[in-house]
Symmetry: D2
Subunit: 141 residues, 4 copies
């Protein structure tokens, strides 16, 4: 890996001023990452369930973590496309967790998929695919 | 319209406990809606620009508003699919605004597209398409 | 399963007048299917590689086969959303194969993902997610 | 424009060996294009309507035409992401037409949206967004 678990955890906390609002890094490997989000009132939507944007935000940052495992600490890698299907209603107030896996890392872009789970349910609550753009000058393969 | 501007504005503020964190309704018509978000530190990402999740959240709620203009105040209409392309870097700290237009409203689902703009730029910063699922018992055409 | 491999193979050939132009069913299980497409001149694009539409068509019909394994022979199930990422250039003139897996089957819709491979390459050439709408009267769970 | 209507029409017919199977260029402007497809038996799906893949193929090539209006005749520009929502059942056997508009053209990618119409219906039958990758050496802005 281009970065250790500890280095990435520190980097994410430092880069995102809102910190834990985006979730906590739980595990990291070559081309994959897992993060969790402790659901708070800010993450709820009408009906009392976890909001779509809370799941999208967790999916997005988990994919970012997976990408950095392959390209190193590149702050300016940015999402260019995100597609998400919401599959099931999450358990109210239960933490959600995401697992991102890269499908491809090229010179200028990385593509991956993310499954989002709700604690206490076996089946995924959402599935997302994403493309990140990698700034050319920052890529060091 | 199935709902007035004032009714919908009150409904959104009441339904979303986080209130203004999701944006403010600016205009509403038959099958379309406009909302703005005053960008705060919580909405920034590494590099100081408006985060993708902040744009997705605004796009999502603006599409919800556009849908409710056609089906009335249905709290349990939920996003089932969202696709977004991030086109340009928004102006740092400037408000963002979204305009959602319905492409179709059927018996069980509504589909629409949303353009997101950054104050001070002419071209859109993001474009999203979305599908909302409409709970059958709540549809009153 | 709601249908056997032989029943589904016969159904697909009967339903699609263009027959093998859409690919051949290779394997079928509870919630998944595999199909192959023998690439011909009609499936090529500028540059001599397999066209995007040929891969989309194969992904689409393979997802349809996976869905029918769960809901039975429903001709009027139709795609409502398809998202596809093209990951790598397929081998020229080599057959392509797709594997579809359902992520969810509800009362009115099914969601799944499809990986597309090119014979002679290990990594996938494309990845797609899809939503099918299931006509209410035809669903027999 | 980087290319005239006649140049592009000739280029498309020359590049795609299957020719008219992909549709005919009808109109071209700076950042947009319109194409039509005469629907034949090959383009039908179970139920007798125009197949999803036929609409996707027309959307894809129309977006390609719109992109070439801005970057010139670049054969190796390829689709990297396509998202499509199928909105309404097309008229059986009627021609379909697509109008593609660019949302952004950058150094390495172009993003656009495409509306697909069925002759005899006012509302669109499908809406697609797409990203094309532009080979670096070929870009001449």
């Amino acid at each position: 890996m281009k970065v250790t678990f500890e280095e990435l955890k520190f980097f994410l906390e430092e880069q995102f001023p809102q910190g834990a609002a985006y979730g906590a890094l739980e595990a990291l490997g070559e081309g994959w990452a897992e993060m969790t989000l402790a659901v708070e009132d800010d993450h709820l939507r009408p009906g009392g369930t976890v909001s779509g944007p809370a799941m999208m935000a967790l999916a997005d940052v988990t994919m970012y973590a997976a990408l950095l495992s392959r390209i190193g600490l590149v702050p300016l890698a940015v999402t260019t496309n995100l597609n998400i299907n919401f599959l099931r209603k999450p358990v109210a107030h239960a933490p959600i967790r995401a697992r991102a896996t890269l499908l491809k890392v090229g010179r200028t872009m990385g593509v991956g998929e993310v499954f989002v789970y709700s604690d206490g349910m076996e089946d995924p609550v959402a599935h997302s695919t994403m493309t990140y753009s990698i700034p050319p000058e920052k890529y060091q393969n």
